[in-house]
């Protein structure tokens, strides 16, 4: 990669603001005024990349809700040469589609103040379902690790810090085996049952109910109410202002005690061959190395009371068309927030990456990009 420095040298052409006058007048801790012009146009490219722990927070609109930890179970381990006590606490039972996270407490049981190193209170959560599916929140670090901003103050003897792990909506049959790490040590696993009051809806009804929650996205590409049977159709832009996408759409279903898990997917072009995520749909698909393609995955938990979006991801890449940067064509994308679609813009030749968990899908209409210059 000897040309990396040469390519980077071109970045010297990027204009920079003269900040010195504002720096001299600035009180530390005071944010700069928002640049009023920055939202005028997104011409080069828009990447939706995966997010930090906070960024993984799930919209509550129509989505999973936190579980009150009234009845709980916990596990404790002494780590760091006997200096710290780590306690992990989870709810005693959890329902499908509810948010699962682990409360973690770190207590300094030594006789001196301890400076916790970066990452000491950054936790990951690993869930293994009864049928062997695995979801490890650590995958999110591939997209956006969240190191501590500044060193935390020293932890005094007898004092504790409290953290809650990233959450994930329950989308597996129980009992779930849950493991968290503390200061680099894995705590003994905890087990939690998944309880659902009613019966799991029939597969066809569950798929139809999930499709009903997609804002009409699948209207022209509606998979049959049978698991694993693809259909070829078109995905229309919600505002009709972009050419439709030719796509292959499919619904897959897993049935557990009292609920179904329906995974809807869109692949374009219809004959594209690439793998979609199965266990963890929040980890985006891997696209072919060449050519325009897009994969959208959207997962729902369906109980007798209806469907709830619990996760999903998108990855797309479009033709650049070979046009000069200043003339790049725009490519629209649409995001569903549970109630409506909102339009965004990227540019042709870009890649879009959206990492879950989220309640809505993002679809980029790469059909708007020219195939040739």
């Amino acid at each position: 990669m000897s040309d990396l420095r040469r390519r980077f040298r071109g970045a010297d052409e990027i204009e920079t603001p003269d900040q010195w006058p504002s720096i001299v007048d600035r009180e530390p801790g005071e944010p700069l005024p928002t640049e009023s012009h920055r939202r005028t146009a997104v011409v080069l490219f828009a990447l939706a990349i995966g997010a930090a722990a906070v960024a993984f927070a799930v919209h509550t609109i129509g989505g999973p809700v936190p579980v009150p930890a009234t009845n709980s179970r916990s596990v404790t381990r002494i780590v760091d040469d006997g200096q710290l006590r780590c306690t992990a606490t989870i709810p005693a039972a959890i329902s499908p589609a509810q948010m699962l996270s682990v409360d973690l407490d770190v207590t300094n049981i030594s006789t001196q103040p301890l400076q916790l190193p970066e990452g000491a209170t950054t936790w990951s959560l690993r869930v293994v379902s009864s049928d062997g599916q695995t979801y490890d929140t650590a995958f999110r670090a591939r997209f956006e690790p969240v190191p501590t901003l500044v060193p935390s103050p020293p932890l005094l003897p007898g004092h504790s810090t409290h953290t809650r792990t990233d959450g994930v909506a329950v989308q597996w049959g129980g009992p779930l085996t849950i493991a968290a790490t503390c200061a680099g040590d894995q705590l003994p696993p905890l087990s939690v049952p998944v309880t659902s009051a009613g019966q799991a809806p029939p597969a066809g009804a569950a798929i139809r109910e999930s499709l009903r929650k997609t804002g009409g996205l699948f209207r022209g590409c509606s998979p049959p109410p049978v698991s694993g049977v693809p259909v070829v159709g078109t995905i229309a832009a919600p505002d009709g202002q972009a050419p439709p996408l030719d796509a292959r759409c499919e619904a897959d279903i897993r049935t557990y005690d009292g609920f179904d898990v329906v995974t809807l997917s869109v692949i374009t072009p219809p004959d594209a061959r690439f793998l979609l995520p199965t266990d963890n749909v929040d980890d985006p698909p891997t696209l072919p190395a060449h050519g325009p393609a897009e994969g959208v995955v959207w997962r729902f938990v369906v109980t007798e009371e209806g469907a709830t979006a619990v996760g999903g991801s998108t990855r797309s890449q479009s033709w650049s068309g070979g046009v000069a940067p200043s003339n790049r064509r725009l490519v629209p994308d649409f995001t569903w927030d549970g109630t409506r679609w909102s339009r965004g813009l990227g540019s042709c030749g870009s890649q879009l990456l959206s990492v879950g968990p989220r309640v809505g899908a993002i679809v980029q209409f790469i059909s708007a990009c020219p195939r040739v210059a």
Binding site: L4, R7, A11, W20, V42, L84, Q112, L353, V355
Partner: protein, 168 residues
Amino acid sequence: LRPYLSVTDDEAVTADAAKLEAIYTEQGPRLWRSLYLSTGDREVASDAAAEAFAQALRRGDALHSPERWVWKAAFRIARGELAARSRVEYKVEYQDEAVVGIPDETLELLMALGQLSRIEREAVVLHYYADRSIREIARITGSKQSAVGVRLHRAKKRLRELMEVVDV
């Protein structure tokens, strides 16, 4: 984990405004662009750079090496700003105002950069754009040198793959 110690630097030199302004004149644009390339966000780059210099000004003679301190502080502040933006996904947007006129091959590199994880982006930007050594990158990012080396290796490999993708 180590016991907390309060360290006093007896050899601290004064970082008065004139000296810091000279550092800003020489390093400011490169720091800002490095932050922008790493975060993809003009606002975050501007805020992190300004905040780091403003804090350096207030610390005055407490800083042994203001230049080194500013780079480290700016990258940490940028990380914190990104983490504080609670949203489902990050939209890294390279606006037209910022990149119009830059060479196509650089533009393609920027697109590919967006596909790296942030720590990989930081490493590759600091090494290949800001000309920082692995040791310096480790200091700025608060990482081990071995970890920086691994990130650079992975980033180069990934960029090699992605350059083909963006050339579609």
